[in-house]
């Protein structure tokens, strides 16, 4: 049993949840030398190791700038593209549920990931780990402004809580602008899967809190969960609407996607993500069965270019192999 594995509800529709706390160690400037990064990584690691329960769960590794391993960690959402580019340290739990980047814009970026809709549980774990570190290494904190960060946009709670939502039917029915507006009115931002500025392939979006000051981390998280739940309901409605309008066309699209995944010999990333998206709908709406939706979602991470390595054509072949194997049990209802 993994120590930090967190599973929430709405499996599939809410693919995963993530909480990030930005923290800086008191007594250091925000921008550090390589030597200071390594010093802080050592201290944080030592603080965690002192705890007999969670200490043994953590490993520490150096991030070599622009290395293949660094790119893989980006695709696993364990480090940011910036850390992969500039190098630093990663302290990560064996199950990858908790990760701490050392050397990002802030000294520490503590992240907790779970599956489904579970930002509250993620926040609890993040708070627990943060206070464990804080007991040994006091953080830069101001009575009025809260936790101090390199960028004023993260000040206060230092919290970025986000939920990855699968909203293919809101996308198809062109309701995303309305949804983005709604989320904005609730203080939440909606972006494409791979964070800021990226495209939403396969209808995967990330919903996150926008402000970090003036409300507690728990309040911000509650508001995010409420917003996400409303969006999920809208997606469910859109699915039923599409089904009632033209079920044969929907069924055809889903069956074709499952067929492609079951039989393709070469497949590129974007086609694969699109197929995963369609098959996910099929599993959730009962057109397909035999596979757990969350398991299928997890595949999305394993078929990214850096995870597979090698020349593009080799990757397409490897990717197709993984998908063929994984989708074997899928049945057409």
């Amino acid at each position: 049993m993994s120590m930090f594995e967190i599973h929430g509800g709405f499996t599939g529709l809410a693919a995963s949840s993530r909480v990030r706390l930005a923290r800086n160690i008191k007594g250091y400037p925000f921008r550090l030398t390589e030597q200071q990064h390594s010093e802080i990584a050592d201290k944080v690691f030592a603080a965690l190791k002192e705890n007999p329960t969670i200490g043994p769960e953590f490993d520490k590794k150096q991030i070599i700038p622009r290395s293949t391993e660094a790119s893989q960690l980006v695709e696993e959402h364990l480090i940011s593209p910036e850390l992969a580019q500039n190098g630093g340290w990663l302290i990560v739990s064996k199950d990858s549920g908790v990760s701490i980047m050392v050397g990002e814009e802030d000294h520490l970026r503590l992240q907790v990931i779970g599956t489904g809709l579970c930002p509250k549980e993620c926040l609890e774990t993040a708070n627990r780990v943060a206070s464990l570190i804080e007991a040994a290494l006091p953080f830069a904190y101001d009575e009025r402004l809260g936790y101090l960060t390199a960028c004023p946009t993260n000040i206060g709670t230092g919290l970025r809580a986000s939920i990855m939502l699968h909203l293919p039917m809101l996308t198809v029915t062109e309701q995303m602008d309305r949804i983005i507006g709604y989320a904005g009115s609730r203080g939440c931002a909606v972006r494409g899967t791979y964070g800021e500025g990226s495209q939403a392939v396969g209808g995967f979006y990330q919903v996150s809190n926008q402000v970090t000051l003036g409300a507690s981390a728990a309040e911000l998280t509650d508001k995010l969960v409420e917003t996400a739940t409303t969006i999920i309901d809208a997606e469910k409605k859109a699915r039923e609407q599409v089904r009632s309008q033209n079920e044969p066309a929907l069924r055809d699209r889903i069956y074709r996607a499952a067929g492609t995944m079951k039989s393709a010999y070469l497949i590129d990333t974007s086609e694969a993500v699109q197929c995963i998206s369609d098959v996910l709908i099929g599993l959730q709406m009962g057109f397909l069965s035999g596979m757990d939706a969350q398991k299928l979602y997890a595949l999305e991470e394993h078929i990214r270019p850096a995870m597979l390595n090698g020349a593009p054509q080799d990757r397409d072949k490897k990717r197709a192999e993984i998908l063929r194997e994984a989708t074997k049990p899928i049945q057409f209802n």
Partner: protein, 181 residues
């Protein structure tokens, strides 16, 4: 609106240029924009917009958004300009111009050093100026009860028959208990 060049397609692009004081405006379809060799201009404009969205704070500080940035952060402190020397954070050496350029502060003390710049900005982005919630655990301090302390003193005063002191202590206790109610 139809394209001003071909008059057939829908105009989806608006182009405006000012050369030597002469302004030229056009509403074009993508095809004619390409023919006019304006593709590059549109593409560049688009790219800079993209950049703007991917890192808005950064762009505010760039030349093009200078006025917006000044709006948001207020004018530079007059003392700094008058003296011709830049304001610097005494702890980390961060200068005011670097702060405005990068949008990042240098150390925790910068928030105090450049409070006049940062406070209005924080208010603007968060709509709040006060942190709520998690705080570092305060070092354990036994909370003294001032009234209990005074009562002990009163008892001692009565026992030592110092009635004058006892009376003033009694008044003090009444005053404090009244405050607590």
């Amino acid at each position: 609106m139809k394209c001003e060049k071909c008059g057939k397609n829908e105009a989806t692009m608006y182009y405006k240029e000012t050369v030597n004081g002469v302004t030229r405006e056009m509403h074009l379809c993508p095809e004619c924009a390409q023919k006019e060799n304006l593709g590059g201009a549109f593409e560049n404009a688009f790219q800079s917009m993209n950049h703007f969205w991917s890192d808005p704070f950064h762009s505010f500080l760039g030349g093009g958004f200078g006025s917006l940035w000044n709006d948001m952060l207020g004018e530079a402190a007059p003392t700094a300009t008058m003296l011709g020397t830049e304001r610097k954070c005494p702890t980390c050496g961060m200068t005011e111009s670097e702060l405005r350029r990068t949008g990042r502060v240098g150390c925790p003390d910068c928030y105090a050093t450049f409070a006049d710049i940062l406070n209005p900005y924080v208010q603007k982005i968060h709509g709040a100026t006060r942190h709520i919630g998690t705080a570092p655990a305060a070092p354990e301090q036994p909370k003294a009860d001032p009234v209990a302390d005074l009562k002990a003193q009163l008892k001692a005063a009565v026992e030592s028959e110092d009635y004058e002191r006892a009376a003033s202590l009694r008044d003090e206790i009444r005053r404090m208990e009244g405050e607590q109610k």
